[in-house]
């Protein structure tokens, strides 16, 4: 069928508006962001120091969250892929997917009202007592903190990361497994070797999780404390970029500093996108490796 003629067909025109609308909306979104952020760029020197606590907070909370998510997500993957019997497996996968799509406010609420107070008197107090000499764990633990936000965030991103890792894990070629068995090694060694094989894929999944986690607003805003300052202890409250925007935008609105918030948004976008792009690279090189394995 002639491609050109196809373009003028009824059906093409029928569906086209939808795609166009989407495209236009998205592009105008970008344009709007940039345009409004422009004025702020001139005064970047003035605004950046103000945003520093937020940037610091985002970096800290997200990094710790991803670190915590590593054992959680890998553990979950192995549990689902290797340890659970067939019937349980599907249920677990469904629950895991459900958790990944759950409204984030509820996670935030739980973290704020249940987990926070609980940890404050148990785990955090423990850490503070024994490791309090380290600046990272100093100060009296409060009900909200970087660490709390990180933990909630870790719980939120682990199901997602786990499902990504699971997909890659199951694609490992069988010849690798057989090689391990043939050496007289057992199941755990097969798991270890497999995980080593997909190292890049795991990194990619985590980078992806990181990219999404930076933008998480509500759950973090509720559990990090909203204190605009750079605190060196993980046990004290702080602020992250999206939480900053959420909390302070209302006030700043009346002044002309609006543009600065758009600039901050762009910074946030930049961080997120950078990680997402990195994730894509990781996963691509991973695919290449899997496909060419075993071919001399």
């Amino acid at each position: 069928m002639n491609a050109k003629r196809a373009k003028l067909e009824k059906s093409y025109l029928f569906f086209l508006p939808g795609a166009l609308a989407l495209t236009i909306i998205v592009i105008s979104l970008f344009v709007f962001l940039f345009v409004n952020a422009l004025p702020a760029f001139y005064y970047a020197g003035k605004y950046v120091p103000e945003f520093l606590p937020a940037i610091y907070g985002t970096a800290v909370v997200t990094t710790v969250a991803v670190l915590l998510a590593i054992p959680l997500s890998i553990g979950l993957t192995i549990f689902i892929a290797e340890l659970s019997p067939k019937a349980v497996r599907d249920v677990l996968i469904n629950i895991s997917d459900l958790m990944a799509a759950f409204p984030t406010v509820v996670y935030g609420l739980w973290g704020l009202t249940e987990l926070g107070p609980f940890l404050k008197s148990t785990l955090f107090a423990f850490i503070n007592r024994y490791l309090g000499f380290l600046p990272v764990f100093s100060g009296t633990p409060t009900g909200v903190s970087y660490l709390l936000a990180s933990m909630v965030l870790a719980v939120m991103i682990s199901p997602f990361a786990s499902s990504l890792i699971r997909e890659i894990y199951l694609q490992v070629p069988r010849s690798l497994d057989e090689g391990v068995y043939a050496l007289g090694l057992g199941r755990w060694e097969v798991v270890r070797i497999r995980l080593g094989f997909i190292k890049r894929g795991i990194a990619g999944a985590l980078a992806l999780a990181f990219g999404r986690a930076v933008g998480e607003t509500v759950a973090v805003a509720m559990t990090v404390g909203g204190v605009v300052a750079i605190n060196k202890s993980l046990l004290s409250p702080g602020i992250t970029i999206p939480a900053y925007i959420a909390n302070l935008f209302g006030e700043a609105f009346s002044t002309v500093d609006v543009a600065s918030f758009f600039m901050l948004s762009l910074i946030l976008l930049g961080i997120g996108t950078a990680f997402l792009a990195a994730a894509r690279l990781f996963i691509l090189s991973e695919q290449r490796e899997v496909r060419t394995y075993g071919k001399a």
Partner: protein, 240 residues
Amino acid sequence: MIEQGAKFFTAPPPTTDLGLGGIGTVLQGSLVLVATALAFAAPISVLAGAFIAFYPNSFTARLARQLAEVVVEFPTIVIGLSVFGLFIVDLHWGLSALTGAIALAVVMMPYMTIQISEALRVPRAMFEETLYALGMSRLRTMLFVMSAGRRGLLTGLLIGMAKGFGETAALLFTVTTSFNLFFTSFNRPVSAIPVLIYFYGLAPYENWREVAWGAAFVLTVLVLALFSLVRVLARGGMSR
């Protein structure tokens, strides 16, 4: 895991400051917002998704797909911020149900579009050739494929709805924080469940927090219901 305040709130009475009221206003608000957002987003998503599924090689389709994938990962607060900036500030619309719905729609659209385009791929591959061989026109074929794939479409819409109910950040600036108003018309402000949870959860009052939990419970039930529907659809949709 979810402990809620001992009271169940399904009642319409408005929330008050110190006593325990209900979450009637926000419940209604959320329903209105999601319904409106869906009214905007669904047609666009379905058309766009179908377009991408049927003409995967065209420039527009590839562009749309790429953009959708990028925006889907966007921090939703940025989207809320932008909608606020555009409609509320520049166009001076002020807070209203409409702005909230628009923000939600923008959040829902990319995700639903991608879901739908994926959901249509399989039926398309299965049926397209057969239908052409029978001499059906392109348009008819596509409509057929869409009807064959309606389960997948519905799934996409349902998940979009679930997201709409749970979405908080996008609404923070586009929806009101005074929770006592019922919905009157589209030009007036309105509020939503997750926003209530956010603000009341952070409040220093004990009873407010309980309200937040009650709302969280309702929200959870709602979302679970939607997801169960999705699960039911998925099971029924397996055809040889």
